[in-house]
């Protein structure tokens, strides 16, 4: 049996022609729409135990996207974020950074990875050379302090380990002297941030209180589900105080498991990493943990800071984290830098960002500066102690930025960075 084709256009051909026609007429409009949108790539840890920090970064950036677009965008172009989840895997971080620039057409990057991913992204940015990237969350000092690692078009808008270490060590040295807490233990995540920053804290802590002695240390893996053997090891060493750099879900699990062993009644605990959502998530937050202010609506105690914190809370029904304000400041730097450079071209924009000082609610005195070594200074740092209920932290003492810069310079010389 044979089939005979009817004369004229088939249904398939008609549909194909209609599609081609629509594409022909729509293409210029689509192209214009794409060209008018400024795509900004953002990558972070958006799933897993650290995801609350990654998602708090995304939340803050979405607020900034709305604010900036309402004000006319960058260079007259509306901005649009492309969010990617690296799951905290450095190889994914590097791949995503390239994909965002080379395939997805992103003209700026906000790298909201933890240090493990940020170092991988840094090398991609150096290699690409044609895009500006702001790291918003890596606190490992070497990222920008080490001239061999610093990249010409990459910047850091984040707390920095050495800054925190100086501020925290001054506070903890005074605290330990007053209470005669000389036997310390440390427990920090086993990667660059945990090891480097713990070493910095200990260096300064011993400098300010030479009586301090470390009796044991523990290095659990990032995302480790069970800290039992770590906790019992710490208890066995009978320290008077524990310093930990665990954070997010790991800190929550550690506190819950440590509560079972009544660890907090056996030693004083100090950490720079108690964020709002972590405090809220820990069902039995012990009082009296000595902690840095990651983000607090009450520090700095200004109307602008409180207003931003409340706006975030209202929109997302949760409190911001330190990663949130850092992402917000990154966008404020992009806004001011692009205005100054009047271009997105990487070299010109990098030159505009270097040395730039902006007004922001998160500055110690209402301003934050992007220093010549591509890292921010003068952001609000304070130390206080936790309470189980809101405001979660009381008796906050602000850090002395003059002292921070002085000791950071000493540290850089010791490391042969300058």
């Amino acid at each position: 049996m044979t089939t005979t084709r009817k004369p004229g256009l088939s249904r398939r051909s008609t549909l194909a022609l209609m599609g081609a026609g629509a594409a022909t007429f729509a293409a210029p409009w689509v192209a214009r729409a794409d060209a008018n949108i400024l795509r900004i790539g953002m990558q972070s840890i958006l799933s897993g135990p650290i995801a609350l920090l990654g998602n708090s970064s995304r939340n803050a950036l979405m607020m900034e996207q709305d604010r900036i677009n309402a004000a006319g965008g960058f260079l007259g172009r509306q901005i649009e974020f492309l969010f990617r989840d690296s799951k905290g895997q450095p190889q994914e971080s590097a791949r995503i950074a390239r994909e965002l620039v080379n395939s997805s057409g992103c003209e700026l990057l906000v790298d909201s990875e933890a240090s493990s991913g940020a170092f991988a992204v840094q090398e991609v940015i150096r290699d690409l050379g044609n895009v500006v990237c702001i790291h918003t969350n890596s606190e490992t000092s070497a990222l920008t302090a080490d001239p061999k690692i610093r990249a010409p078009t990459a910047f850091r808008v984040a707390r920095q380990g050495v800054h925190d270490a100086v501020a925290g060590s001054i506070y903890l040295a005074d605290f330990s002297k007053a209470r005669k807490l000389n036997k310390w233990a440390t427990c920090s995540p086993d990667y660059a941030y945990g090891r480097d920053t713990t070493a910095q804290y200990l260096q300064f802590l011993k400098q300010f209180n030479p009586d301090i002695e470390v009796v044991t240390d523990a290095w659990p893996k990032l995302g480790q589900p069970d800290f039992t053997e770590v906790i019992t090891k710490l208890i066995q060493a009978k320290p008077q105080a524990l310093f930990t750099l665990l954070y997010a879900g790991d800190l929550s699990a550690f506190v819950n498991q440590a509560n079972v062993y009544a660890l907090f009644s056996q030693m004083t605990v100090a950490t720079p990493n108690v964020d709002y959502p972590v405090m809220a998530a820990i069902k039995n937050l012990p009082a009296g943990i000595q902690s840095a202010t990651r983000y607090l609506e009450t520090f700095p105690d200004t109307p602008a800071n409180k207003e931003w914190g409340e706006a975030y809370h209202k929109r997302w029904n949760e409190r911001p984290t330190t990663w949130s304000w850092q992402c917000t400041v990154a966008m404020q730097f992009y806004e001011a830098g692009i205005k100054k450079a009047n271009t997105l071209e990487a070299k010109a924009l990098s030159a505009a960002l270097t040395g730039l000082k902006i007004n922001t609610p998160f500055g110690a005195d209402g301003t934050i500066t992007m220093r010549d070594d591509h890292t921010t200074i003068n952001y609000a740092i304070g130390w206080g102690q936790t309470t189980p209920k809101e405001p979660f932290m009381v008796d906050i003492k602000p850090a002395d930025w003059g002292k921070i810069i002085e000791l950071e310079t000493e540290w850089k010389k010791q490391q042969k960075y300058i």
Binding site: G48, A51, P225, T228, K233, A262, P277, K283
Partner: protein
């Protein structure tokens, strides 16, 4: 490496008690997960790479039940039953379709389930971590036994898991269904030829295996963070347990899990930066001396 600290610990009753109980709790929870892996392998010769998903779902279901009912007992029960049911559905609708296929096909099916349910958890419970919090009955100070610190919650967990191990062991050796399962592990064709409903038997094996992993997830939820993908971390260690104990041996899984727990407990004192390495070295040595594992049969 700090052999002095390890020596001091081993000669101090407080340290021995504290580290041994911490090793026991790590080992017993690991045993619950690994028992399911080894049971399923023993009967069906399938390596269930999706087993961590059962552990994760058990934790999340328990978390939701506790929020709704305020009862930890109900939370644990619901986590166990939900994952047992999930085990039956997983076996009937997915894994039974690749019985007899090559191991890569089975791996692919399991891996797909892991990825799908990690995303399901993200959609239902959100991508961020959750903390269940300690049940009020266990919010009590730890006990001090011979100078060592022993939390009552962990004593309860060790008791429950030990009871499960005994019930599982007696169930397999004394009951009709247990004997049938053991027979199916040795000669499934003969069991089938004798008229045993192997379809039902395989579903039961998956229900028990999945339920045990879910029970472990639910029991551990008060002290461990819940997050998508959390099953992966326990999966690797449960495979090590299964390999060391001998593929298919419940008693082997118990001994291997306790060994790993104790190596973790004391290794962290003497080899703080090489505790994971110790476990793998132990596995290599055991496999060199007994390639079939501690309690495995030579094939």
């Amino acid at each position: 490496m700090d052999l002095t600290a390890l020596g001091v610990c081993l000669t101090t009753s407080a340290c021995v008690v504290t580290q041994a109980t911490s090793g026991l709790i790590v080992g017993m929870l690991l045993f619950l997960v690994a028992a399911g892996v080894t049971l399923i392998f023993g009967v069906l010769k399938i390596v269930n790479f999706a087993h961590g998903t059962f552990y994760m779902l058990g934790g999340y279901v328990a978390y939701t039940t506790l929020n709704v009912t305020d009862s930890y007992a109900l939370a644990v029960l619901s986590g166990t039953l939900a994952t047992a049911l999930f085990g039956v559905l997983f076996e009937r609708f997915l894994i039974s379709r690749v019985y007899g296929s090559n191991v890569l096909m089975q791996l692919l099916v399991c891996y797909a389930v892991v990825l799908i349910f990690d995303d399901v958890v993200k959609i239902v419970w959100g991508p961020e971590f959750h903390a269940m919090g300690m049940p009020p009955a266990f919010q009590v100070p730890p006990l001090f036994i011979a100078g060592g610190v022993v939390p009552p919650f962990y004593i309860a967990l060790i008791g429950i898991t030990a009871l499960i191990a005994i019930v599982l062991s007696l169930g397999l050796s004394m009951t009709r269904i247990g004997k049938t399962v053991r027979a199916a592990a040795i000669n499934p064709q003969m069991v089938s030829a004798l008229g045993v409903n192997t379809t039902l038997l395989f579903a039961i094996v998956f229900a028990v295996g999945g339920g045990l992993a879910g029970l472990a997830g639910a029991l551990a939820a008060p002290v461990r963070s819940l997050s998508p993908g959390m099953g992966f971390s326990v999966l690797i260690e449960s495979f090590i347990v299964t390999v060391i104990g001998g593929m298919g041996s419940i008693a082997g899984a118990l001994v291997a899990a306790l060994l790993i727990g104790l190596v973790r407990g004391f290794g962290t004192i003497g080899f703080p930066q090489f505790t994971d390495g110790l476990i793998y070295i132990m596995m290599i040595i055991i496999l060199l001396l007994r390639p079939q594992g501690l309690f495995g049969r030579r094939s």
